[in-house]
Symmetry: C2
Subunit: 225 residues, 2 copies
DNA sequence: CCACTTATGTACCGTTCCGTTAATTTGTCA
DNA sequence: TGACAAATTAACGGAACGGTACATAAGTGG
């Protein structure tokens, strides 16, 4: 969720020191809209409010994105891309299966934790029955790597006799996602109902290790130390 | 989310065959509003639309609930009460720790699955930073039983040498909630990104057993059969 | 430097939507 | 049965909001 200062169209931009800056305006709108949507939801956000926080005018939003739905659609796509990009920092190829899995779980946990805007956007998208995701070819293509990454680790672990057979990689991914996602999505209500101890810095460290343990135990053929 | 047919004020009602029916109207509004809010969110819902689906008029909503926020507040409280009531069916006292825990997990999983409206309401409440929950004295009081129920099972398990020490009951509850909640809350996006196999009847049966296994393994001192 | 496309700002329109005003009907109880 | 409170209806006001019309500036290619 940084971007934005690269106004004069970053990509090998031949045209420097311009007054007009389509790409910059576009991405500025997207950044503001992401924040606004993730804060207030789709119908809770106001186009006028978004426009006001932009460096440009309301007219530009309609010029580039057509309407409110179109804007939300693009915001969602941009957010998915940004988050999936972040996951590329992860390199697990030469780790032992158990270490790789622990690494993956803890990374996912932290990654979600650092991107609450994205999480909230996905919550909102789920409230809208995934309608905007459905319309996006782009996004579906970004996600199969998550499964194959797990599959590689899992298969390696099974071959080494460390993991038990018969678990679907997608089920492992589901469980990792669930725990990492819930940690952000339901923080507000959970901490109000059951106290905030799990969510301060120390609590989160414990939780992160704990869910990594949990996932490892889940797939292990024996109890891990 | 049944209720509602008990119009002539259910509670040992002395006044039968009435034309006016305050309690009936009130609960009819709440039922319609629950559905509407859980479907469209707080700002996405229209008071006029709710009123239209009611057996009464818009004015009555304001008469009984003040404004939109007040209505949402009461809907939330009502939903929590209803769901917590449903949990009273559960009796685990005389089961062995492992069986009790499995029972509790599978029950929670199914219970969430059967109450998607409630789940969606909680998602919405989280998007609004838990503001409405915060204002409700009522709700907080309903929830401590969830923790003590787990604590009883866990302590029994530890004493019997079946469970390992050093886990917080609230962390166990957190994990059960996360898995059961995510299963409903993120169904739309998850199934679109990774396929729907986990969510048909067979997939859900497997998932339910699987997460029960997972929780049990998590607390166990040894690998379970 | 001119014709044409792309980008941007201003002012405005029609509708939706929350909430209210004012009056009426229904029931209570002394 | 009549005074008073509770419940309910119909119609409306006014602000908020999504979207557009129109004018114009900035940039491009010939």
């Amino acid at each position: 969720m940084d971007s934005q200062q690269d106004s004069p169209t970053g990509k090998g931009s031949q045209r420097a020191r311009w007054k007009q800056d389509p790409e910059g305006v576009r991405s500025n709108i997207l950044a503001v809209a992401l924040k606004e949507f993730s804060e207030h939801g789709l119908s809770g956000s106001r186009i006028d409010e978004i426009a006001a926080k932009t460096r440009t005018s309301k007219r530009m939003i309609y010029y580039y994105f057509g309407d409110k739905d179109g804007l939300f659609q693009k915001v969602l796509e941009e957010a998915y891309r940004h988050v999936r990009d972040g996951e590329k920092e992860l390199h697990l190829e030469d780790l032992a299966p158990v270490d790789a899995l622990r690494q993956l779980v803890e990374f996912t946990f932290e990654h979600h934790r650092r991107n609450p805007d994205f999480i909230r956007l996905v919550m909102i998208e789920n409230i809208h029955n995934g309608d905007y995701l459905r319309k996006s070819e782009l996004i579906r293509s970004l996600n199969q790597t998550a499964i194959s990454r797990i599959e590689a680790i899992y298969n390696k672990g099974v071959e080494a006799g460390l993991f038990r057979k018969g678990i679907l990689p997608v089920a492992i991914h589901w469980q990792i996602s669930a725990l990492s996602f819930f940690n952000v999505s339901n923080r507000m209500t959970f901490s109000q109902l059951f106290g905030g101890d799990l969510f301060d810095e120390k609590g989160q460290d414990q939780l992160r290790r704990q869910i990594a343990d949990s996932i490892i135990r889940f797939v292990s053929s024996e109890t891990p130390a």
